[in-house]
Amino acid sequence: MGTTFALLGAASAALFAGVGSAIAVGRAGQAAAGAVTEDPSLFSKVLILQLLPGTQGIYGLLIAFIALGRIGIMGGTLPGDDVALGLSYFAACLPMAVVGLISALQQSKASVAAIALVEKRPDQFGKAMIFPAMVETYAILALLISILAINGIPA
């Protein structure tokens, strides 16, 4: 049971954050493709903006990987039947899973808007890049808490 819960946590971090990023990058990609049809020279700029909401998926992977490393799927000690320990891992992974999903979706909106901005005023790329990056802060904070929590669980 313990191992199952821990695995559930690790999986949901990769799962939800990954799903969020996939949807978000897809949305931003549509907007980016639209911008490139108007002006192909914008490609590299809008590509960066498209990729911005993709980081949540990477953070999710990161948490999943650290958690898997700790719970013994890839080395380390298995929680075995220790339900409390398993649940601790599950809880530690939650911030990344939930915040990763939602922040990716929200960030994609900022990205789409930033792509529209760059389409109209390509010289304002530097500023356009910051708006989606603001949303990402919260994914980073969640990542931080998840890392600290996993590390704090006595193995």
């Binding site: 990477i58 890839m74 530097g126 500023k127 910051i130 990056a133 603001m134 980073i140």
Partner: protein, 679 residues
């Protein structure tokens, strides 16, 4: 670290020298000629509604030049489509080709001829498109005739003297009997019909129907109720017609090919087209500026800005080239002059970052140097892999050495990533990451003995330590920003503002941090052992309190009402949470650094799954190359974006507003060529 001082320039000369002067200025590329000089007092020579001096509308001439540029560009586009130039991505780093002034003028004189050729290319392209649009039409006709191939009568066959022939199709699959019975059902009086099914498929049944002339109307009525449709009429037998159409198709295809080769024959004109595109762009720009000059019958006046360092050169060259009077004046106190930055070799590359945000406005200092002090370090911490840093530094370094002639902007960008690469190497060494954990993994898997690398902090196993380091950097970065605010205020003579807005905040935030480091809760959270004596913590608390009181009292000093002032002061104090979130924001240094190393580890682990052996080694190499290139690309992008964010939001938020206008000299905005300047 400097915003270059500007001078106003006024040039007065004879109209006959106008062209020479303008062309010289365009080549010098160091004079900006604005639409209207701002902050101008009315008693200068240039008054728009003057009887003697007037501006001349040059938009017609410009429109012609712009059209030529467009024609040349379109022709180039067509050429690239049908006779693509063999060009690698790196060739674009070679920079613009150089021409001497004489060559440039000579080739410019033949500009019209080249434009004529460009028009011919566009004409050919038009014919090609027309020919090509014929092809699907013909194909559709052939397609429509296909079901009728088996018929040996033309489709417009009407019948003989006694009989009526009806040719057409039903939109469904029907057999001969079904057709005959259905028609007989609808038209019971008719004498008889003969139905010949030419072809039938699931979608349609094509028939030739014969009946007596007098039954014609009744049969047609019956057919109408069965959704009968007539084919396109033609007096040729279908199979013959298809043959004819095939011939047309072939001719159209040949025509397309012929036009393509004709266009491709113009490939040697590419250079000329590029040249005229540049040539007319320059002339268009020149006429734009010409429209900004005030002219009288014989003289003209030109006003603009020139950086002080170029004053002597501009004057010398202008007076040598023509009989002109050149005058330089200082910028007025209320005048927003365009901004040109000048920095040392190390800081210069991040000028682009500053420019992306905004140029410094009047009174602000150029933040480039402080930005550069942190930029490469922050970038390095986020990418934090010595091997990735080495790849970046080597790649950009080699490009810079190999392509000496590349455009200056490109050079600056490459140099920025070169320094970022160096920063990444340093932090990679400090945190013991070389392609993630490749050294221990490889030594363990393939050599049987694990080699550990030295590191100062291992971020993966000591994340708290790394977090504390990130926060420490945050505090240094933010305090540096506050320090620049202090410096700017002092420099502008606003000593009081400097104390209110910078010193009080130093006291409050600094004091709080010192105090915090003596409390158990903070120390436990950061997993630190107490290292600040309690007495120092108390001093910190007192200093913070003084700072807080100062902020409350001065934070709303622009309000006259004391009550409002106090409220605003309290609100200003609330901004201390802003400092907290600013500092927390630097945890991305840890997070992004971890992202790089964890993904590297994932790939390294995947690579070793083949075990030790010939195929294991091959697999490791393949996985490592693919995986690490991907990781480097994604994380370099992330590091770049978030370094910019920390600079723009956290760092600039403390002291920098910007809003200045970039110095854009009247210059050669060309794409392919530039004029070699001889002294």
């Amino acid at each position: 670290m400097a915003v270059l001082p500007m001078k106003r320039i006024q040039i007065i000369g004879m109209n006959k020298d106008r062209k020479t002067v303008l062309e010289l200025i365009q080549r010098l590329q160091s004079v900006e000629i604005p639409e209207a000089v701002s902050g101008q007092s009315s008693d200068t020579l240039e008054t728009p509604k003057d009887d003697i001096f007037a501006k001349v509308d040059t938009s017609d001439a410009r429109a012609i030049f712009d059209k030529n540029v467009q024609v040349a560009q379109e022709a180039l586009g067509v050429l690239n489509q049908y006779a693509p130039e063999k060009k690698s991505l790196l060739d674009s780093l070679n920079g613009k080709r150089e021409l001497s002034l004489q060559e440039f003028t000579e080739r410019g004189n033949d500009g019209e001829l080249v434009i004529e050729k460009a028009r011919r290319i566009l004409g050919l392209q038009k014919e090609l498109i027309e020919a090509r649009s014929e092809i699907p039409k013909i194909e559709a006709q052939i397609e429509a005739l296909h079901p009728w191939v088996g018929m040996d009568l033309p489709l417009n066959f009407r019948g003989t003297s006694r009989t009526k022939a009806i040719i057409g199709a039903f939109p469904e699959k029907l057999s001969e009997e079904e057709i005959v019975t259905t028609i007989a059902g609808y038209a019971p009086d008719m004498t008889g019909i003969d139905v010949d099914v030419i072809s039938s498929s699931d979608e349609q049944t094509c028939i030739l129907l014969l009946c007596l002339k007098e039954d014609g109307d009744a049969v047609e009525e019956a057919l109408r109720r069965m959704n009968f449709a007539r084919p396109p009429l033609s007096d040729v037998v279908p199979s013959k017609q298809i043959e004819g159409l095939r011939g047309d198709l072939e001719r159209a295809q040949k025509e397309v090919e012929r036009r393509k080769t004709q266009i491709a024959k113009y490939a040697p004109e590419r250079e000329n087209l590029e040249f005229v595109s540049d040539y007319y762009k320059m002339r268009s720009d020149k006429y734009d500026v010409l429209g900004r000059l005030s002219r009288s019958k014989r003289t003209f006046i030109l006003e603009g800005y020139v950086p002080e360092r170029d004053v002597a050169e501009v004057e010398r060259k202008l007076t040598a080239a023509a009989d002109v009077y050149v005058e330089f004046t200082d910028i007025a106190a209320n005048e927003e002059a365009p901004v040109l930055l000048k920095n040392n070799f190390y800081s210069e590359p991040v000028e682009g970052v500053v420019e992306n945000y905004s140029m410094p406005s009047k009174g602000e200092i150029d933040p480039t140097v402080p930005v550069s002090c942190f930029y490469y370090i922050l970038f390095g911490m986020m990418l934090s892999d010595a091997a990735y840093g080495l790849i970046m530094a080597l790649a950009t370094g080699i490009l810079m050495l190999k392509y000496k002639k590349m455009e200056y902007g490109m050079k600056k960008t490459l140099r920025m990533f070169f320094f970022c690469g160096i920063g990444t190497i340093i932090s990679g060494v400090l945190f013991g990451s070389y392609f993630g954990d490749m050294i221990p993994v490889v030594s363990r898997t393939f050599f049987g003995k694990e080699i550990q690398v030295w590191c100062w902090i291992d971020p993966l196993n000591q994340p708290m330590k790394m977090l504390v380091l990130s926060f420490a950097i945050a505090i240094v970065h933010l305090f540096a920003g506050l320090g620049i605010l202090f410096y700017t205020d002092v420099k502008n003579g606003k000593i009081k503002d400097a104390i209110y807005d910078a010193v009080f905040w130093y006291m409050l935030v600094g004091g709080l941090i010192v105090f915090g480091l003596t409390t158990d809760i903070v120390l436990n959270m950061l997993q630190l052992s107490p290292f600040v004596p309690a007495s120092v913590g108390q001093v910190g608390a007192i200093v913070a309190a003084i700072g807080a009181v100062g902020i409350v009292l001065t934070g709303g000093r622009e309000s006259r009402n004391w009550f409002k002032r106090l409220l605003k002061g309290l609100y200003a104090l609330y901004n201390v949470t802003g400092y907290l979130s600013d500092i927390l924001s630097y945890s991305r240094l840890l997070a992004l650094g971890l992202a790089t190393s964890v993904i590297s580890q994932v790939f390294n682990k995947m690579g070793t799954m083949g075990g030790n052996g010939f195929f294991g080694i091959i697999m490791f190499i393949v996985v490592a190359i693919l995986g690490h290139s991907l990781n480097l690309a994604i994380n370099a992008l992330g590091a770049y974006v978030h370094t910019n964010r920390l600079t723009f939001v956290e760092f600039f938020g403390k002291f920098y507003e910007g809003g200045g206008k970039k110095f854009t000299p009247f210059a050669m905005n060309t794409k392919y060529y530039k004029i070699k300047e001889e002294n």
